[in-house]
């Protein structure tokens, strides 16, 4: 399958010596919904920056739809729409002007995007804000406008850097639906996030990035299967020490009265575990089955939480 983005041995060392990327390799096929998952400072924004032309690579290459982002930057950049993490706009102009300018910068005659601009304003609920300047928008509206504008030149690839950071639940769901639809219609979408839920819900594949390195790549389901952290969570009366002793041989973690038993197929072990604990004189107040999340995968691969 043709590759939308191909990253080879990409390194970035910032002036001042910070090594943001230690030689990463990534392939994103056309039409994929791809997630770059990692904590702040992992190298996500640097990877996006080099791909879009905002940051110069120290070494290595990035190709976008077969075009090198340095030597053939015009062709490469035409294929990309970027919704950056920060919401910074040219504050002198109305949304309508900014939409026209952005189309023009991409070489699309502003007159020919009038219809498309109106359609995007409509889809993102900004029809009545067209004549307004960005600073008069709320945070959520700014995010909507930013994503709408990144689509004005109808790029093959949409890159979103933390698109749902700081937006309310309603808008988050609206964006998720919209992005899923765009992807179904054929756009390649690459998003960076440190919201595990977002990656699990939307992405065909994710790469886990930490400390400037790709730790692993795969579909959320495959990653979860490969790092099974399923288990039972018992809430016990008291400190649970007796219960823990009764479960000798299981992989356990205990926090106060909460005992987590990591075991594959936990649903088949409920009776056995509860019996043992009860026989030891402990009282089970609550019991839940825990299914492995990307958060668990991240934790077991990197040794730390994604929010750390």
């Amino acid at each position: 399958m043709a590759l939308a983005v191909e990253i080879r041995d990409l390194r970035k060392r910032y002036r001042g010596g910070v090594e943001a990327l230690l030689g990463i390799n990534l392939e994103v096929p056309e039409g994929e919904f791809f997630g770059l998952l990692g904590p702040n400072g992992a190298g996500k924004t640097t990877t996006i920056g080099i791909t879009t032309g905002l940051v110069r690579p120290t070494s290595g290459t990035v190709q976008v739809m077969g075009h090198d982002v340095v030597t053939d930057f015009r062709a490469a950049r035409r294929c990309i729409g970027l919704a950056a993490q920060e919401l910074n706009f040219d504050w002198f102009f109305s949304l309508e002007d900014l939409m026209r300018f952005q189309a023009g910068y991409y070489g699309v005659p502003p007159a020919s995007v009038k219809e498309r601009a109106l359609q995007l304003f409509e889809e993102f609920g900004l029809m009545d804000k067209r004549a307004v300047k960005p600073r008069e928008l709320s945070g959520g509206m700014k995010r909507r406008f930013q994503i709408a504008r990144s689509l004005i030149h109808d790029p093959d690839i949409l890159i979103l850097d933390e698109p749902t950071a700081g937006v309310d639940v309603e808008l988050r769901h609206m964006l998720w639906d919209y992005l899923a639809r765009l992807n179904r219609e054929g756009k390649t979408i690459i998003l960076t996030t440190h919201y595990i839920e977002e990656a699990e819900l939307l992405c065909d594949r994710v790469a886990i990035i930490d400390g400037g390195q790709i730790i692993t790549t795969g579909s959320p389901a495959a990653l979860v299967a490969g790092q099974n952290r399923d288990g039972l969570v018992l809430e016990l009366a008291g400190d649970g020490a007796a219960a823990a002793a009764a479960l000798d041989g299981y992989e356990l973690t205990r926090e106060e009265g909460r005992l987590t038993v990591t075991v594959s197929r936990p649903e088949l072990q409920i009776a056995e575990i509860v019996n043992r604990v009860t026989a030891a004189g402990a009282t089970v107040q609550d019991l839940t089955i825990h299914r492995t999340t990307l958060e668990d995968v991240f934790m077991s691969l990197t040794g730390h939480s994604i929010d750390a």
Partner: protein, 253 residues
Amino acid sequence: MNRVGFLTLVGREVKRFLSLYNQTLVPGLLTTVLYIIVFGNSLGSRIGPIKDVPYMHYIIPGLAMMNVITNAGANSSSSLIQAKMLKFLDDILITPLGGLEVSLAYILGATLRGFLNGVLVILVGMAITGMSVAHPLEALVFLVVVGWTFGAFGLLVGIYARTFDNIQMLMNFFITPLVFLGGVFYSIDMLPPVWRQISLFNPLYYMINGLRHALLGIGDTPALGSLLVSLAMAALFTVTAATLFTRGYHIKE
């Protein structure tokens, strides 16, 4: 070459300064009127004609050039530093516009603001003093070339600068003295010999006297020489600014 992108960015630059006309067009006109009234009218009668030209007429080319220089320089420098500081420069850097195209678009926008200011000052000067223009075409050439020169200079400043204060300092400590010492209000023949020699090293002296020749038919230096000095400065600043911008100096990580 991304022609549509280039023209869009030029259009953005022009629309920006036109929408800010209270800061970009009106102040120059106002100070010009004040200079003509105060210097031309009240002091001029005591200074008397220079090279057979009334003092009130004599200062108009200098005032026009002063406005071209400060406005062109301010346009590209402030536009770029705003884009850098408010971080919307990224909106341009991610597009298929090369560093040369972005540089030339900023310079051309600045040139147009400088040119427009110069023309307005000359028209106001003509209206107040009744001066007529000796070589109109030559005047237009000087206004464009000098506007371009300082548009490119302003871009260079905008690239280097990290804050607005950097720009203000450069204007106050560098451009303003050079403009005043370039003979806006006097002929260097009126200076002591040492200062006359020093003035010859001030490129603005050639630009001001070039326009003076175009407007009044007189000047301290031949017009062609003035034009060549201006063109050389324009080329120097343009190449330097465009090269730095393309390399991403103070622009990209």
